[in-house]
Amino acid sequence: MQLKQYPAPHIRNSQTTRGVMADAIAALSFLYAMAYYYHGPRPLVMGLGSVAICLLCDVLCTVIARRRYNLSDYSAIVTGMILPLMMPASVDYRIVAVAGIFAIVVAKAPFGGVGHNVFNPAAAGFSFAAICFGDALFTYPPADLKLPLWGSIEFPLTSSPAFVLRLGGTPNYDSMSILLGKYPGPMGATNILVLVACLIYLVSRGTIRWSMPLSFFATVGVLAFAFPRSAAGGLASVVYELASGLLLFGGIFLLGDPVTTPKREMSKVAFAITSGVMVMLFRHFGNMEEGITFALLVMNAAVWGFDMAGEYVARMIRRRKLETLEGAKVPKKV
């Protein structure tokens, strides 16, 4: 009998890291399906290329760093899938590649790979591309336009509602087309209904928790109501702020990244609220029409602080609770 010594416990939950990542991949593939429906096969090629580049970079970096690589955790695939979805469908393939390489080689690998990266790789990759190729990244093809796979895009590219809001205007799209994603914007971030379905799916699978996206969206909503950028005023501003740009997408997929967010529930909520404030600050005073990735990168650097503050509060609650339990003064029903 060949026995090995194992520490307790001797049974394990069937859920694996791969399963967590696969959930994210499943949710993201819905968005690719929608992008395919609106823009033809080009988004799929972008997605596949981005995934391939991210995987390649991840493997290379791990080999160079002589770490043990486990291809079956799909983290690089998730990063590769998120990146193109934040960009317009018409963007040059090379920009996607550059963003992917930056995400893995600069934002992920030097920190120690999966689980150790301080900054969200996808947010970092997108921010880098936004700084370098702002024009290409923030002009969008009209919705419902089938794009050619190769060659230049001959149709006029337009700006998105986020840009209109940035200028202080009011986007003229009715609520139905906003819900269905029939307005120019990042190819994965315009389908509000599909995004909400993704959120519900991920929450029901236990991959992300309600607390974080909800408190994030609530903060943004309250701030949008209090300080509207457009002349449309209060409630319309809330709808436009939530639906425009990468806000919903980022709130689900970037903020839902477990590695670069705090661990404890209360830290998560505090983090999400602060992120919401930060996003709105970037939107009001930032240079670009979309500041969520920059806001998240800034917030990522503060995760450790949020976690430690959470631990401090948790220790207080824990000790107080144990003291009352020891005294057992409160009668409780068994």
């Binding site: 090995k4 416990p9 955790d73 661990k263 529930e265 339990l325 009668p331």
Partner: protein
């Protein structure tokens, strides 16, 4: 915000072992050992029972303490006697099965304990979240009320008993009660222990009454192995110890189960992705993820914020971890470090026991030295193992 998890729901896997009759697998020589009660000279009934428990060498399987010591310390003091049949770990049914099948002996044992403690109130504690049983657990067993402990694993009885407040109580395992009844009414010495044999390598899982000192291999062969196990566990599936040498490991008083598993999956080398599930499920409200990371990086200074000494060793953090990391052993390491470090400054250091559960309610030794504890008389030692009663 839920700081303290109500536990996790585990599929219990208690069948088919639970419903089968308990078989005896005993050594004929030790089984026939009788007590010599002729020289017994005692004043009262209470002392007679304690003396018999001492002569019969009965050990309470729930904490590994000698029963007569527990009885002596509670003599005439406890207000309620509780039979502990909490089998909250999957596969293990070595307390609840004897409770249902030998209810009379358990009731006799409870009566004897009540006589010693000088009280009338008695109760039986059973874990409620067992859903896969073929037999129903009755509401009363031998007219004794069955108390159902709700919530997921770990069913930490210390916390669930908090409704009793400071009531002094005596909690005895079901096995010890049966052996006490046998010692008093049949003059039998404790030579056996109840244990569950299960796991995916055991061809006929069952509950056995096994002689003390049998080897693990003998017990496994008694139930048959359908395939070669890669992991043999002494104790529960969540907290047990995996053993290497089955020929030389013996069944002891506190062995509650022998489990044999075979896993075909290869060890995956995932990194921690910081999902925070371990923090979500920790019944003590700790953050095992950071403790694990600190232990991995040998950063021992940072533990004061994380209270690893409050760990009850339930293993839920490792169970839930999607990256299959050994989180709970890291926390145990950190706990040992913190307790070992502060042992010099403490008046009495923590005794090493098999079950770490009693330390649940302990305050952090370094930060808040409690004069109340230092003044405790040794008589309260027993009650101390029920931390709520402190």
């Amino acid at each position: 915000m839920p700081m303290f998890s109500k536990g996790i729901v585990l599929s219990q896997h208690k069948e088919p072992a639970f419903s089968k009759p308990i078989l005896r697998f005993v050594h004929p020589q030790t089984d026939s050992l009788k007590l010599d009660l002729k020289k017994l000279t005692v004043q009262s009934k209470q002392e007679a029972i304690i003396e018999i428990a001492r002569l019969a060498r009965i050990v309470d399987e729930r904490d590994g303490k000698l029963l007569y010591r527990k009885l002596k310390k509670c003599q005439g003091k406890a207000k309620i006697v509780i039979a502990d049949a909490l089998d909250d770990e999957p596969y293990v049914s070595s307390r609840i099965a004897p409770l249902l099948q030998m209810g009379e002996e358990v009731a006799d044992g409870l009566d004897l304990c009540c006589t010693v403690a000088g009280c009338q109130e008695k109760s039986i504690m059973v874990y409620k979240m067992i859903t896969d049983l073929e037999t129903r657990i009755p509401r009363t067993i031998q007219k004794i009320k069955v108390m159902r402990v709700r919530g997921g694993y770990p069913a930490s009885q210390e916390r669930r008993l908090s409704h009793l407040g400071d009531t002094p109580r005596l909690v005895v395992g079901v096995g010890a009660l049966i052996h006490l009844a046998r010692a008093v009414y049949q003059q039998k010495q404790q030579s056996t222990v109840f244990l569950t044999v299960a796991g995916n390598c055991v061809s006929s899982p069952m509950n056995l009454e096994v002689s003390l000192g049998m080897t693990v291999m003998q017990v496994l062969e008694r139930c048959g192995l359908s395939q070669q196990p890669t992991r043999v566990v002494c104790g529960g599936s969540m907290t047990g110890v995996s053993i290497m040498d089955t020929e030389n490991t013996l069944v002891t008083h506190t062995t509650r189960a022998i489990l044999a598993f075979r896993e075909n999956q290869r060890d995956a080398h995932y990194n921690c992705i910081g999902c925070g599930r371990c923090e979500q499920v920790c019944p003590s409200g700790l953050n095992p993820m950071y403790i694990h990371r600190f232990v991995q990086t040998h950063y021992y200074k940072g533990f004061s914020l994380f209270d690893p000494q409050l760990c009850i060793g339930c293993g839920t953090c490792s169970y839930i971890c999607p990256s299959k990391l050994e989180v709970s052993s890291s926390v145990a390491k950190a706990k040992a470090y913190v307790l070992g470090d502060s042992a010099d400054t403490q008046e009495e250091s923590e005794p090493a026991t098999n079950s770490s559960k009693p330390e649940q309610g302990k305050p952090a030794p370094k930060q808040s030295p409690r004069p109340k504890e230092a003044r405790q008389s040794p008589e309260d030692d027993l009650l101390k193992d029920l931390p709520n009663a402190q």
